[in-house]
């Protein structure tokens, strides 16, 4: 049977060499992760550029009013996608001192329980996020005139992606991989 982690390595996507590889995973999850990472890069670069161009325009007493609303929309997307990328790298803010004292199977059970709790919470975010996005189809962003759903959809989309990463992590936990093996030596 082929190794589900066959997608390891820098060659999964040629362009991925420009970004840190992140934890190993099967090829479909790596593709999803690369998509998330590159979306963050693209959105971040767009936001920084737009805000800077507006500063330059101010010097000539001109302004692109739509950039404020557009950047707010992008901010919501980049934040929730960034949250998904942070989940994949085990980078969220955590008080890990108590769990860090556990070792062996006890640590594995604790990690699994934590990820289950996270999964349930993400399920709630996904479900209610869908409802919010659906309701947002009826109203429009003030300046851009786009449906509010284009902004609100970030929550269910990013929650669904995060759930994929959490489920994969849960599988790895159940396979007996330690946190350091899953995320690297910086995550004891």
């Amino acid at each position: 049977m082929s190794d589900p982690r066959a997608g390891d390595g820098a060659g999964a996507l040629a362009a991925a060499t420009l970004l840190p590889a992140g934890p190993p995973a099967p090829r479909p999850i790596l593709w999803l992760a690369h998509l998330v990472d590159w979306s963050i890069v693209a959105i971040g670069a767009t936001m920084a550029t737009l805000v800077f161009i507006n500063v330059i325009l101010h010097l000539f007493h001109r302004d692109m009013a739509w950039t404020v609303e557009f950047c707010e929309l992008l901010m919501v997307w980049v934040t929730f996608l960034g949250g998904a990328a942070a989940t994949r790298r085990g980078a969220h803010m955590v008080i890990g001192e108590l769990v860090g004292r556990l070792a062996g199977p006890a640590r594995r059970y604790a990690d699994a329980a934590i990820q289950l709790v996270v999964l349930v919470t993400l399920g709630l975010l996904f479900w209610y996020g869908l409802g919010i996005a659906d309701a947002g189809r009826m109203s429009e962003l003030t300046v851009l005139g786009w449906p509010m759903a284009s902004q609100y959809a970030a929550l269910p989309v990013a929650s669904a992606i995060t759930m994929v990463f959490v489920i994969w992590d849960l599988i790895e936990i159940l396979q007996g991989r330690t946190r350091a093996q899953r995320y690297g030596e910086d995550h004891p």
Binding site: I40, N54, V117, T121
Partner: protein, 427 residues
């Protein structure tokens, strides 16, 4: 009271190792279910989205990007070289140079962890080679790195400004003098340590030409806080725009002047800064859910009644607030602690005739101390790792720095003129 129950539930969940963002969401939703409240969860999660949306918060990832760009190359090393040439002749000179480097780099990065890591990676080994104990070197890295939180641009100050409605410009200006006072306090500890242990009685004074050369090399980086503060102060740009200018300037310095950075490095820098920012932003969003609940349940009114039972005077309120925040800071990082506490404290502070800008500065300085107090201290962990010693050893070694920092905190608290004079002069 629902606030204490929610906070208690959140602390328990967080201590069990659940990421703070999910801990906050679970505690909020859990309380609604537990008390059978009729609040629709859609409203709660809508405030989660709304919490991360405001334009002013775009400054957070952009300042992080600017810091990342400048931290990536040799900016830290250039600043360290300049500070060492300038101050290395003093007793405890290497320690003092570390403090000054952290102060300067704090004006570039805005992040305590980045400050500790960038300066500490150069200075911790140098201090150990000089004869400083590893624990002292780790302690100094842990404490001096937090100067970045007080010295503008400061991410916690930006977040406080968003939560409280205070002016970012005023907060940044208010942070300048206290940052220097904290640095002087830490420098005194270094001089005393260097002299009393005999590990660093000072080098011979560097020739003026060498100091000048080091200054010229570090000058483009030193200009960063001047551009940010100057731009905001003169009204040339808003704080969010200042962050974009800082990122563009950082790019120019790192790629054109220092040539430390290549275009190929940019995607990784963007990913790192926007992911790190997302970690902070989702906590802010989750706290917005909690804030929605406590506002609807009229908790601030109940808190005000509770506090005024015990704090009749301004000084007792400030004392209780500082003690509570010092305890809170032991467990929670400055940004989530600010987002949690500021909405409750700002109305009370206004009732006690405390300027919200002064309050924000006190809270920031206080919670910066929490970064190096166990069990949860971001710079404490980084400082210990860089010095190659355990966290408990570092904790014992940083007691003098802790005492002096708390003393300075109380001076800043009870003498508003220290921080506010510059604000009033420039308003």
């Amino acid at each position: 009271m629902i606030l204490f129950e929610t906070f208690g539930l959140f602390v328990v969940i967080a201590l069990l190792g659940v990421p703070l963002v999910y801990g906050l969401l679970i505690a909020t939703v859990g309380m609604i279910w537990w008390h059978g409240l009729s609040h629709p969860l859609t409203s709660i999660f809508l405030s989660y989205i709304g919490g991360v949306e405001p334009f002013v918060l775009i400054a957070v990832p952009l300042f992080m990007l600017a810091g990342e760009i400048l931290s990536r190359g040799g900016v830290g090393l250039r600043i360290v070289t300049f500070a060492t040439k300038l101050l290395g002749f003093l007793p405890g000179g290497l320690g003092i140079a570390t403090v000054v480097s952290c102060l300067i780099f704090g004006g570039v990065s805005g992040s305590a962890i980045a400050d500790t890591a960038a300066i500490g990676s150069v200075m911790a080994p140098a201090m150990v080679r000089k004869g400083y104990k590893r624990a002292f070197a780790g302690a100094l890295m842990s404490t001096a790195g937090t100067l970045a939180v007080v010295m503008p641009p400061s991410i916690p100050m930006l977040v406080y400004a968003f939560v409280s409605g205070a002016s970012v410009r005023d907060l940044f200006i208010a942070g300048v003098v206290p940052a220097f006072i904290f640095a002087i306090g830490l420098a005194i500890v270094c001089a005393w340590h260097g002299k009393s242990t005999g590990c660093d009685n000072g080098e011979t004074r560097a020739p003026a030409r060498e100091v000048w050369t080091a200054f010229v090399s570090a000058f483009p980086a030193l200009l960063m806080p001047v551009i940010i503060l100057g731009g905001i102060w003169t009204g040339l740009f808003l704080p969010t725009e200042a962050a974009a200018v800082a990122a563009a300037y950082g790019l120019f310095v790192a790629m054109v002047i220092y040539k430390d950075l290549h275009w190929r490095d940019l995607p990784a820098l963007l990913l790192k800064s926007f992911t790190t920012s997302a970690v902070v932003m989702v906590v802010i969003g989750a706290t917005a859910c909690l804030a929605w609940l406590i506002t609807v349940e009229q908790v601030p009114v109940q808190i005000a009644g509770f506090v005024t039972q015990y704090a009749h005077e301004q000084w007792t309120f400030l004392l209780l607030m500082n003690l509570a925040l010092l305890v809170l800071g032991c467990f929670i990082e400055p940004v989530p602690a600010l987002v949690l506490a500021a909405p409750l404290l700002v109305p009370l502070a206004i009732a006690f005739k405390i300027d919200p800008v002064h309050l924000g500065l006190i809270m920031t300085c206080n919670l910066a101390i929490g970064l190096y107090t166990p069990p949860v201290g971001g710079t404490l962990m980084v400082g210990a790792r860089l010095a190659g010693v355990g966290m408990m050893e570092v904790t014992r070694a940083l007691i003098p720095q802790f005492i002096i920092s708390v003393c300075i905190l109380f001076v800043i608290t009870y003498v508003p003129a220290i921080s506010m004079s510059l604000v009033h002069a420039l308003r």
